[in-house]
């Protein structure tokens, strides 16, 4: 495990901006973090703090205006199937493909699997997200949560080096959500890929993550990077879990109150 | 060696009968063979208007073009000194009638502001030129464009339909055969003007022309064409009934053979290689600025093969 010491993904002083004719929005400001192989790295922060933007930067959709994003030592230049992403939006499925074809498509495109093999892999993953009955259906006939589950299946079936997930479980009910979390962890346990995971739920962050990046409000800066240890669902009621949750909670709160005070002045 | 393919263009209608006969009876092929040129392929193209034909000739896609006197004078004047397009022969002398349904109009002086005269193309068609000549005669020098403001561009069939329907502003139509004769069969239509009267005698309506280069490079083919054309005209005047029959068959025309024969027998319609009253047009067009060069005599715009005749 000599690789373990070298970070898989290095984000160094990354500032990301959106620029249009009239507006300039700085989404994140000088963000640093390292993601090591097999990390389950969680991004946690208030709405609009630049989590999705950071993910887009890592995925290669946006170039930083400052700083560097490097994967295995090489700067990220373009998107690629080694970094499969689950987007936050519902309309990320290809409307012209059925649920199954949506999952098969990237497998074939990226050469991960072909023909029958791809189809079987897709079916297995679709079963895991509980949509076997809807395999032949087009995305517009799915509910919001079902669409997200297809997107999750599509990304998981690819078994990529890095999985980028932008609030994948936000539209899911408590039970489906728990099931999905378990599936994700089981898959991780089997393949030990790396996950970069955005969530809004502190509980989910601790359950899913091995390390948690706390971000400050707009424009997003790094507030803290914490170890989430290896809490499982069994430990949810332990004092350690509660303590960590409390700590994160307080940090976010403090940040918020501070920033609101600041907004009041400015 | 001379060309193995001759490309000839004609337009639509009875006035192109010599070319139709030439095509149907394969006279050019025969003449070429007789001249020792072997099997020459003749491709015929039908055009709906003269200017596209000129473009085709200038771009080298056509060897012989045919059309009205106006376009011929224009292309001769414009290509003098470079392409040197010249007349091969005249094709016919046929009158043009200005007909009207307005009972108040007896001469062109009677046209009022409410009248509209349809003709193929305002200002540029041979009908428009003839009308200007008539206007000059009627209203005096410098007033040749007096009636232009009443003229309207319309293709022959459209103009005819418009005038005959009685439902449009068109009250007069300056057109050619066969339309003008068809119109006169209706009792409400009267003739106001005959181009022969304006020009003081029969006048050339259609001409065939070619580029000097073609004639220089293919003298035998060129000669064969001229003789085939004469042959065709001879055949028409020898048997007008057969010519009418051939026309109706070839064009799948709805006109009856009798009707066409009557038209052919009318002495004002003559098929001849000799231009008639061409110079009157040329002078007028030059005087009004439509062409920049004035031919010295009728022979100048034509190639020498037909210079021997009694042209004018």
């Amino acid at each position: 495990m000599d690789q373990a010491s070298a970070p898989l993904l290095e984000v160094r002083g990354v500032t990301l901006q959106y620029k249009t004719d009239q507006h300039l929005v700085t989404a994140t400001w000088r963000v640093d973090f390292d993601v090591h192989p097999a990390d389950r790295f969680v991004l946690l922060g208030p709405s609009g703090c630049g989590k999705s933007t950071l993910l887009k930067g890592v995925a290669g959709f946006m170039a930083p205006v400052e700083g560097t994003i490097a994967l295995k030592g090489r700067p990220v230049e373009r998107p690629g199937p080694d970094r499969m992403m689950v987007f936050q939006e519902f309309d990320q499925l290809l409307p012209w493909k059925t649920v199954e074809d949506n999952v098969v498509f990237p497998l074939e495109i990226a050469g991960r699997a072909k023909g029958l093999e791809a189809r079987e892999r897709a079916r297995a993953t679709i079963a895991k997200v509980g949509l076997s009955k809807f395999r032949e259906v087009y995305p517009h006939m799915l509910s919001g949560g079902m669409k997200m589950r297809v997107a999750i299946a599509r990304a998981m079936a690819m078994e990529p080096d890095i999985l980028l997930m932008d609030e994948p479980f936000a539209a899911l009910d408590a039970l489906t959500r728990r099931k999905m979390q378990e599936e994700l962890l089981a898959l991780w346990d089997e393949l030990r890929f790396t996950v970069l995971f955005v969530t809004h739920s502190i509980e989910e962050a601790i359950l899913v993550g091995s390390r948690i990046l706390l971000m400050s409000p707009h424009p997003g800066q790094v507030r803290a990077e914490l170890n989430a240890g290896t809490f499982g669902r069994g430990q949810i009621d332990t004092p350690e879990f509660a303590a960590l949750a409390r700590r994160i909670h307080d940090m976010l709160f403090a940040e918020r109150i501070e920033s609101e005070g600041r907004a009041g002045h400015g | 060696a001379e060309t193995k393919e001759v490309r000839v263009a004609q337009q639509f209608g009875i006035s192109y009968l010599p070319l139709t006969v030439m095509k149907e009876k394969r006279l050019l092929e025969a003449a070429a063979k007789a001249a020792g040129l072997g099997d020459v392929k003749v491709s015929w193209t039908v055009f709906s208007a003269g200017n596209a034909m000129n473009d085709a000739l200038i771009s080298g896609n056509l060897d012989f073009a045919s059309g009205g006197v106006g376009p011929f004078m224009t292309i001769w004047a414009r290509t003098k000194g470079n392409l040197n397009v010249g007349g091969v022969a005249s094709m016919n002398s046929m009158p043009l009638y200005l007909n009207t349904v307005n009972p108040a109009v007896k001469t062109i002086k009677d046209f009022g502001d409410k009248d509209r005269i349809a003709l193929p193309a305002v200002k540029v068609s041979i009908q428009a030129v003839t009308l200007q000549m008539a206007a000059e005669a009627a209203f005096g020098v410098g007033k040749h464009d007096a009636l232009d403001k009443l003229t309207v561009s319309m293709s022959h069939p459209d103009g005819m339909a418009a005038m005959m329907s009685g439902r449009s502003e068109i009250t007069a139509h300056f057109t050619s055969a066969p339309f003008m004769y068809q119109q006169l069969e209706d009792s409400k239509v009267r003739r106001v003007l005959n181009s022969y009267d304006v020009l003081g005698g029969p006048s050339t309506f259609n001409v065939i022309w070619a580029a000097a280069k073609f004639r220089a490079e293919n003298p035998k083919t060129y000669a064969a064409f001229v003789s085939a054309l004469s042959e065709s005209m001879r055949w028409i005047s020898a048997d007008k009934r057969a010519a009418a029959q051939l026309y109706v068959d070839a064009e799948k025309a709805k006109l009856t053979v009798d009707w066409v024969e009557k038209l052919l027998r009318d002495p004002e319609n003559v098929f001849t290689t000799q231009p008639q009253n061409l110079m009157k047009y040329a002078e007028f067009m030059h005087r009004t600025g439509m062409i920049k060069v004035k031919p010295a005599d009728w022979k100048e715009p034509f190639f020498p093969e037909i210079h021997g005749g009694p042209g004018s």
Partner: protein, 294 residues
């Protein structure tokens, strides 16, 4: 708006508990429709009604005008259509036209595909497309005449060239605007799979922009017809090979207005058939099934 009644409270009611039933095999539950409603639900029926209405209006107006040199009645035209169809004249001409049309249409679409692919791949390509379109699209076919004659001479080549001109820009404009409107998320999803360049265009942009592309194809098809009929007159016809445009011109010169309209009716019928058989079924199988258009 509800008047804010002084702090009204929702009433307290007992809780309800129920057992659910297995209804997974449930079929359609529908309210019955009246026979008239069912009939009017058939697109075919509605369209036929429209067509019959139009034909009737034509017939009546034609009779009212009462001048078959200008506007023959519908039945006169039908008769003429029957006549020229039976003699094989019209079908022949239609086939000739269709052949040229298909070549020009296909070539135009292919060129549009190339141009728009360029336009979405590079910024210069986008500028090229928009500049060329703005320049050439308003030009009438005669503007191309010299080039056509120089490059292709008389005949089919030139016709095809002009047809391409009439198809290309409309299809390219629609396609490019469709490409530009593809939602960012879908675009990113495609790139995320590693698609780039032509595969990206073909597998993501084309289906995602399909409604626009279809519209472009429809407009291109219609304008190809218009142009063909007009262009056959400009380029002339060798021997007896003319298509529908020449047929119409000929009949017009022979003052056979009913036959002219028969020719136009043929264009209309072909238009309807292509719309209802080709485009409509493409639509049903693609954009509608995919929920991209209602």
């Amino acid at each position: 708006m509800a008047e804010p009644i002084a702090k009204r409270e929702p009433p307290l009611r007992p809780e309800i508990l129920r057992q659910t039933r297995d209804v997974s095999g449930l079929g359609a539950v529908e309210r019955p429709l009246t026979a008239a409603e069912r009939l009017m639900n058939q697109a075919g029926v509605r369209r036929s009604l429209i067509l019959i209405g139009l034909a009737a209006a034509w017939q009546l107006y034609g009779q009212y005008v009462g001048n078959n040199l200008i506007l023959p009645t519908f039945f006169e035209v039908l008769e003429a259509l029957w006549e020229v169809s039976r003699s094989g004249e019209l079908p022949d001409r239609v086939l000739t036209s269709l052949r040229v049309l298909t070549i020009g249409y296909t070539a135009g679409i292919a060129l549009a595909a190339v141009l728009t692919t360029l336009a979405v791949s590079t910024r210069l390509g986008a500028d090229l497309l928009s500049t060329l379109t703005a320049m050439f699209n308003p030009l009438p076919a005669i503007a191309l005449l010299p080039l056509a004659l120089l490059w292709f001479g008389l005949g089919v080549g030139s016709l095809v060239f002009v047809l391409i001109h009439s198809v290309l820009w409309a299809v390219a404009l629609n396609t490019h605007s469709g490409f530009s409107s593809v939602p960012e998320t879908l675009r990113m999803a495609g790139q995320n799979m590693g698609l780039r360049g032509i595969p990206f265009v073909a597998r993501i942009l084309v289906p995602a922009a399909f409604p626009s592309i279809l519209t472009g194809l429809k407009i291109g098809w219609a304008f190809a017809w218009r142009t063909l009929i007009a262009a056959e007159l400009v380029f002339g016809v060798s021997s007896r090979s003319g298509g529908l445009g020449w047929f119409i011109f000929e009949k017009r010169n022979q003052l056979e207005t009913a036959s002219v309209f028969a020719g136009l009716l043929a264009v209309i019928v072909i238009g309807l058939v292509v719309e209802s058989v080709v485009f409509r079924s493409i639509e049903r199988r693609t954009v509608r099934r995919w929920g991209m258009q209602r």
